[in-house]
């Protein structure tokens, strides 16, 4: 099937019985129209792949419905291409120049936003997060067990049951800590979003 998920809709279009599996996602007249229009707009905008382009050219040449739709859309396209921009008043340029004579070009943002300040703010938040972690561990009451404290930590044999005995209530009941954690998480997500967006832009 050359066009992905398209399904045949021959029973709605008597003229298309001989055109295999080209037209739509569903057996539905409206969807068929939408799909034809989408494909024709891509064709008109020059966004179709070479294979798609030649398939559409054939359809336009041989199929009355496609011909009619193509002509309709091409008319809209040509009207838009031929449309004119609105003109402001004759004095517009002079008005702008008189206005900007009273202004000066502001220095570029990057010249007055010091990167060290941004780094400083970042360091401040990182130290806050580190402080939170320290606070978290300070509040946690690990069960006292002299045998494990005096010996070197042996990970495989570490008693994980001790974590179940941790007093988490001290943290969950503390409003400032909860708020701080929420703000930190939100900020982290915002930063992650910004980073991923930038990555996406770079890739595209």
């Amino acid at each position: 099937m050359p066009y992905g998920n398209y399904m045949r809709i021959n029973r709605f279009s008597p003229g298309l019985q001989n055109e295999p599996e080209l037209y739509t996602f569903n057996d539905n007249r409206m969807n068929k129209e939408v799909t034809i229009e989408d494909r024709l707009w891509d064709f008109i905008d020059g966004l179709s792949s070479p294979a798609e382009k030649s398939a559409i050219e054939t359809l336009i040449a041989e199929n009355v419905e496609w011909q009619r739709k193509y002509k309709e859309l091409l008319n809209v396209h040509q009207l838009m291409v031929g449309s004119e921009l609105e003109e402001p008043s004759m004095r517009f340029t002079r008005n702008v120049m008189e206005e900007i004579a009273r202004h000066q070009v502001a220095p570029a943002t990057k010249t007055y936003i010091n990167k060290n300040i941004i780094r400083g703010i970042g360091a401040f938040f990182l130290s806050l997060i580190a402080g939170l972690l320290v606070y978290f561990f300070a509040m946690v009451k690990l069960p006292s067990d002299s045998s494990t404290r005096s010996q070197p930590v042996n990970l495989p044999s570490m008693n994980l049951e001790a974590l179940d005995k941790v007093d988490y209530g001290k943290l969950s009941g503390n409003l400032p800590v909860t708020l701080f954690m929420l703000i930190t998480v939100v900020m982290g997500l915002v930063l992650l979003d910004l980073y991923l967006r930038r990555k996406k832009e770079q890739v595209s």
């Binding site: 921009l85 402001p88 517009f92 340029t93 702008v96 070009v105 832009e201």
Partner: protein, 193 residues
């Protein structure tokens, strides 16, 4: 020989303010048309457009040249229009808002078939565009008149190019519907040509 946008900007940044007039002349219709997509009042549109160029001049040092000047200018148009409309207390909280579209439509209800049929195709297209929502009419203007690619429009509108493509298709379909509904006589003539 005509200077490129980048060359003009360099001259302006070097202190030759008069060169900015060339940029204004080059883009005044584009900016004015885009502003008219937000407000159909020509006086307001002219005031906002003037403000756009003043802001562009003041922030010219921030234009990095990694996008077209027209793309950068559009970001100023958009924020200026939204600020202006908020000041005027018009309902512009969401440009996608269907109510905005309805308002535009009702404002344009004076454009009846009889009044327009005698006018040129240009007038018909512009009247039909003004009936669309600001989002639709902007995408059409940016694509056809700003010669912006789907990627460039996506960048300034902060949307994925595929979303812009879908929006563009829908905007053109809605434009076609408006023309067929309000200017049926002229459209029939066009189809028969």
């Amino acid at each position: 020989m005509e200077l490129t946008d980048t060359e003009i900007i360099k001259r302006v940044l070097a202190g030759e303010q008069a060169f900015f007039a060339q940029l204004v002349q080059r883009y005044q219709s584009y900016v004015f048309t885009l502003v008219l997509r937000f407000t159909d009042n020509r006086e307001d549109a002219e005031e906002i457009s003037q403000d756009v160029f003043v802001k562009a001049y003041r922030s010219l040092a921030d234009f990095r040249g990694d996008a077209k000047f027209s793309t950068w200018l559009y970001t100023i148009v958009r924020t200026s229009c939204i600020t202006f409309l908020r000041k005027k207390r018009l309902e512009t909280t969401s440009l996608d808002n269907e109510r905005t579209s309805m308002q535009v439509e009702s404002r344009q209800s004076g454009f009846t078939a009889n009044a327009i049929e005698q006018k040129s195709k240009h007038a018909m297209v512009n009247a039909a565009i003004r009936m669309l929502s600001p989002d639709d009419s902007q995408i059409l203007t940016l694509f056809y008149k700003g010669e912006q690619s789907l990627e460039e429009i996506g960048r300034v509108m902060r949307l994925d190019p595929n979303t812009i493509k879908v929006k563009l298709h829908r905007a053109r379909n809605r434009l076609k519907e408006k023309m067929e509904k309000h200017f049926s006589y002229a459209v029939r003539e066009l189809y028969e040509d």
